[in-house]
């Protein structure tokens, strides 16, 4: 039994080996590995006796899961209706240009993964960009670089501005 299988088994054990805890199990695997490795899903399938296709269907359905390795930081640009009309797509293409990746991809140095989302529920501060857990409201093309810089290697993001609901 390799290390990966051992890790999966202890996670499953923590969730009492119950099928109904499948999502919680996958979330744990995702946070330990930053993504869901195929081998891990196979192990879950055989341990829980759930068809592999059902697990893959679930893992590809929710945005919280990723089947591809993700970078250290997750940059999410909102393209919901409100953010769209306020220039979300322009912000996105600025990120695409600066990171040289398309949505869903990770930079070669594994620092950033770019994603899009359709509304985060805080349209009033649109266009919204989220990096890891930090929300940036009223984003402009000019601010894209400033935001990225905070997370670039070496720059520990400290005291990042969190935008509250009323911002």
């Amino acid at each position: 039994m390799n290390a990966m299988q051992e890790q999966i088994r202890s996670i499953i054990h923590k969730h009492e080996g119950l099928k109904k805890n499948l999502i919680a199990i996958l979330l744990d695997i995702q946070s330990e590995n930053a993504y869901l490795p195929p081998e891990a899903l196979r192990t879950v399938a055989s341990e829980l006796a759930v068809p592999l296709i059902d697990i893959v269907g679930l893992a590809t359905f929710y945005r919280a899961f990723s089947l591809k390795p993700r970078g250290r930081h997750l940059v999410t640009v909102c393209l919901g209706t409100a953010c769209h009309v306020r220039g979300g797509p322009k912000i996105l293409s600025e990120f695409e240009k600066r990171l040289a990746v398309e949505p869903g991809e990770t930079t070669p140095d594994k620092q950033f993964t770019l994603e899009t989302v359709a509304c985060l529920g805080c349209c009033a501060i649109g266009p919204v960009v989220v990096v890891d857990r930090d929300y940036y409201g009223h984003t402009t093309i000019q601010r894209v670089n400033t935001i990225l810089k905070k997370y670039q290697r070496g720059n520990k993001p400290k005291a990042t501005k969190r935008v509250a609901k009323h911002a």
Binding site: P51, L52, T60, F61
Partner: protein, 227 residues
């Protein structure tokens, strides 16, 4: 036994039947795509829509999933139903214009124009392949993946599945896998409705075939005869 009214007929159905089963039992035709007698219902294609209730509160439901109810009033062919069905067909046909099954349904149910840009996909997400693989072949090799406009049918990790039996049932049942014929005007969005060719209403026309989709009802040939 449950009593209900379908197209004005008093009919009886067994408890647990769907409206579709009841209609078919009485010989009323309802088109279907995602329904198959040997599989669980899916309710995805909406071709089997019927109208239930009366007056302004009537509504459209999918007959393959709606169970018979005591005293229910059902109409299987109202103008509203026909319009909704044609819309569903038009949408599905724009997704997979190469599908023979869809082209045939389109000609049979009188779809004569296509307003949406054809996308030439190979799937209309009817779920038949997934269900036959799971329920009849007991393999569970394929399934729906992703979400929204990225939704697709595939094996885990898009690789050859270890549990697939190579039985071919998924392809056999797929309405998008059999391509339409390459007959006259094969590149058009809607084909020529050969399927609906029927003998003309008048015997004088001998071997001629009627090309009107409501064959025998339009009366064109009768008028021509009078001239």
């Amino acid at each position: 036994m449950i009593q209900l009214k379908m197209n004005g007929l008093e009919i009886q159905a067994e408890e647990g039947w769907t409206l579709l089963e009841a209609a078919r039992f009485y010989g009323l035709e309802i088109p279907t795509l995602c329904h198959n007698d040997g599989l669980t219902e899916f309710g995805g294609c909406r071709l089997c829509l019927v109208e239930i209730g009366e007056g302004p509160r009537s509504k459209l439901v999918s007959s393959c999933t709606y169970p018979v109810e005591e005293g229910l009033v059902v109409h299987t062919d109202t103008a509203r139903v026909v319009r909704a069905r044609r819309m569903m067909l038009e949408l599905m046909l724009s997704t997979a214009p190469g599908s023979k099954k869809l082209q045939d349904l389109a000609s049979k149910y009188g779809l004569t124009h296509q307003r949406f840009k054809p996308r030439d996909e190979e799937c209309v997400y009817c779920g038949l392949c997934v269900r036959i693989c799971e329920e009849q072949m007991d393999a569970r090799a394929i399934g729906f993946q992703n979400r929204g406009n990225k939704r697709k049918i595939s094996t885990p990790f898009d690789a050859r599945s270890e549990v697939c039996r190579l039985c071919g049932a998924c392809m056999y049942i797929c309405p998008a896998c059999q391509l339409r014929c390459q007959g006259p005007a094969a590149e058009t969005d809607i084909c020529n409705a050969c399927l609906t060719m029927e003998p003309t209403c008048l015997e004088e026309y001998g071997e001629l075939q009627c090309w009107m989709y409501d064959a025998g009802r339009c009366g064109t040939c009768v008028q021509e005869k009078r001239k």
